[in-house]
Amino acid sequence: MVAVAEALNRSAAVAAPLSGGARIDVRHVSHQFALRGAALPVLHDVSFTVEPGEFVALLGPSGCGKSTLLRLVAGLDTPTQGSVQADGAAITGPDPSRVVVFQDPTLYPWRTVRGNVGIGPQAQRARFAWRGGAQEEQAQRRIDAALELVGLSDFAEAFPHQLSGGMAQRVALARALVNDPALLVLDEPFGKLDSLTRIRMQGELARLWQDARFSVLLVTHDVEEALLLAARVIVFSERPARVIAEVRNDAPYPRHRDDPKLVALRREVLAQLGLDT
């Protein structure tokens, strides 16, 4: 019961500042897939750390294995070698404190926007055998807060097929934020949006992160996006992915794309990727 109460208190309000985001340690991780009998190495001896509350971008060419790394951090897969730890404890499975937003919003078409955002609270409630009225009420308040945060309060009763791509991705973001995550894992979350929507949502994400201060791990192949959002950019090689560089970016937020400092960093990162022009 005490643990339950604690869990509830911990997730009291979505936008409230946290005691601190999660610390993620990736230690000498190698991973391979079995493909038609042959082993296909995807990650090679990858090590890095995400400090509590830090915004880290993982940048690399398409198909280099970044998304695989992300699934390991989320606990959806376990690494072939090495270890992934959250706050010092090995990650053995998925946990609502580390929420993933994928490239496709993947909303459940049979649920309304409200129902989709409420999946987390509902699924976690199933862990405890009873349904409390107060608990339900609190979950509804958190859902309302999350919807307001992404500006979709008016669409709470809409079904996913009635939403635009940008709105759907916002719902996916609200579905993650409602759980009050310690780590937000983003897998090219804006990859499929039109460029105007992408620019707007990048700004919104930076603001959200500044308010809430959870740790963020952003996978992207967009150099500009990585530099615009992250405090540290970890650059990966082609598959099998290994870390080839770490670029620290201490430019203050809100950042602007045409900031000369970002332009210089962009050149540096592109050079690391062998794309110097």
Binding site: L76, G93, P94, V99, T106, I119, G120, Q122, A123
Partner: protein, 351 residues
């Protein structure tokens, strides 16, 4: 012919096209009234080669339909003309019920022609051989005189079908979900399903009547078997086809297996499950009738058999009509349920 744009642009023209539609619908309603009236006159003054009971009731029914068509025509005529005299902002002033009746009028007209033709070739001309083809008034006779037996048969058939279908659908659903979800269950159950499933349920008939204590329980088993196979296969395919990303999302949000099955796999598979339930319902009808013809001493299948034994062909036609209404009604019910549960889907087939 004016396009939609034109009719929106010019309000007066829009009123014109609307009233033109109403005039046509009213005209058809008038024609339907006339057709039923003529049909009644034919029955009255064109003598049939044999004396058929219930001919007077038949005429009365026709006159009733003629009166109904005429009333609809008048209501359709008066409704819009009364409002078009005083222009109103609402473009469709016809009350919806009269509108629905007006839309049914072409059918009523066709029915008048069809019934008259049927009557002519059976009663007046006797082009169709006598005992095997019955005129429409004979059906009225069956419904008027034999309704206790027919009613009991419907109740029996419905009860048997409900038992078998509900049991079979439940068994098929559970089987389908477990095969789709668990590799171990799939390993053991899938081969059995592949071997037994395609076998027509009626092939079990002789064995079933031997194994089961009563012909009723045997029939329930056969109907359940026929229903379960399509439901199981389509539920299975629905569950197996669920986007794996749905599971990843739920798992990262803290979902446990019960949530994944009940709240992710089953809702996602539901469209496919309903295809299975629809196919199962069709299969269950055919097994129901065969089972009632072969062993059960009640129900519509038995009624058909009994009518054949007495060469009472009008009873057979009457029973077939009842059966058609019952099956169609049940399928309508299933589709209504689906429309309600799958309201989130776009582009549903309207039954």
């Amino acid at each position: 012919m004016s396009t939609q744009f034109d009719s929106i642009a010019a309000r007066g023209e829009a009123g014109d096209t609307a009233s033109r539609d109403v005039i046509r619908a009213t005209l058809i309603a008038g024609l339907a009234a006339l057709a039923w009236l003529t049909s009644a006159a034919l029955t009255e003054w064109w003598p049939s080669l044999d004396d058929w009971p219930y001919t007077n009731e038949f005429i009365a029914l026709k006159l009733l339909l003629a009166a109904f068509a005429a009333a609809t025509a008048i209501a359709g005529w008066r409704g819009p003309s009364a409002t078009s005299a005083t222009p109103t902002p609402t473009p469709t002033p016809t009350p919806t019920r009269i509108g629905a009746w007006l839309r049914a009028m072409p059918w009523l007209l066709a029915l008048a022609l069809g019934v008259s033709a049927w009557e002519a070739v059976t009663a007046q001309l006797e082009w169709l051989p006598r005992p095997f083809f019955a005129p429409p008034q004979a059906l009225i006779g069956v419904y008027a005189e034999d309704y206790p037996r027919l009613g009991t048969s419907v109740v029996h058939s419905f009860g048997l079908l409900a038992y078998g279908y509900v049991l079979g659908a439940a068994a098929g659903f559970v089987t389908g979900v477990s095969i789709g979800w668990s590799q171990a269950v799939s390993y053991w159950v899938h081969p059995v399903l592949r071997l037994i499933g395609p076998l027509p349920a009626t092939a079990w008939l002789p064995l079933a009547f031997f194994f089961f204590p009563s012909s009723f329980s045997a029939s329930v088993f056969l109907i359940a078997l026929a229903t379960a196979f399509p439901v199981a296969v389509l539920t299975w395919s629905g569950v197996a086809g669920v986007n794996p990303a749905y599971y990843d999302i739920a798992r990262t949000l803290g979902a446990r297996p019960a949530f994944l099955i009940l709240r992710v796999a089953i809702p996602a598979a539901l469209p496919s499950v309903f295809v299975g339930l629809f196919m199962g319902l069709g299969a269950s009808f055919s097994v129901l009738i065969v089972a009632e013809m072969m062993g059960v001493k009640a129900g519509l299948g038995w009624y058909l058999q009994w009518a054949q034994g007495w060469a009472a062909y009008s009873n057979m036609y009457a029973a077939l009509l009842v059966m058609a209404l019952m099956c169609s009604g049940l399928i309508t019910l299933l589709f209504r349920l689906r429309d309600r549960l799958l309201a989130w889907q776009k582009g549903l087939l309207k039954w």
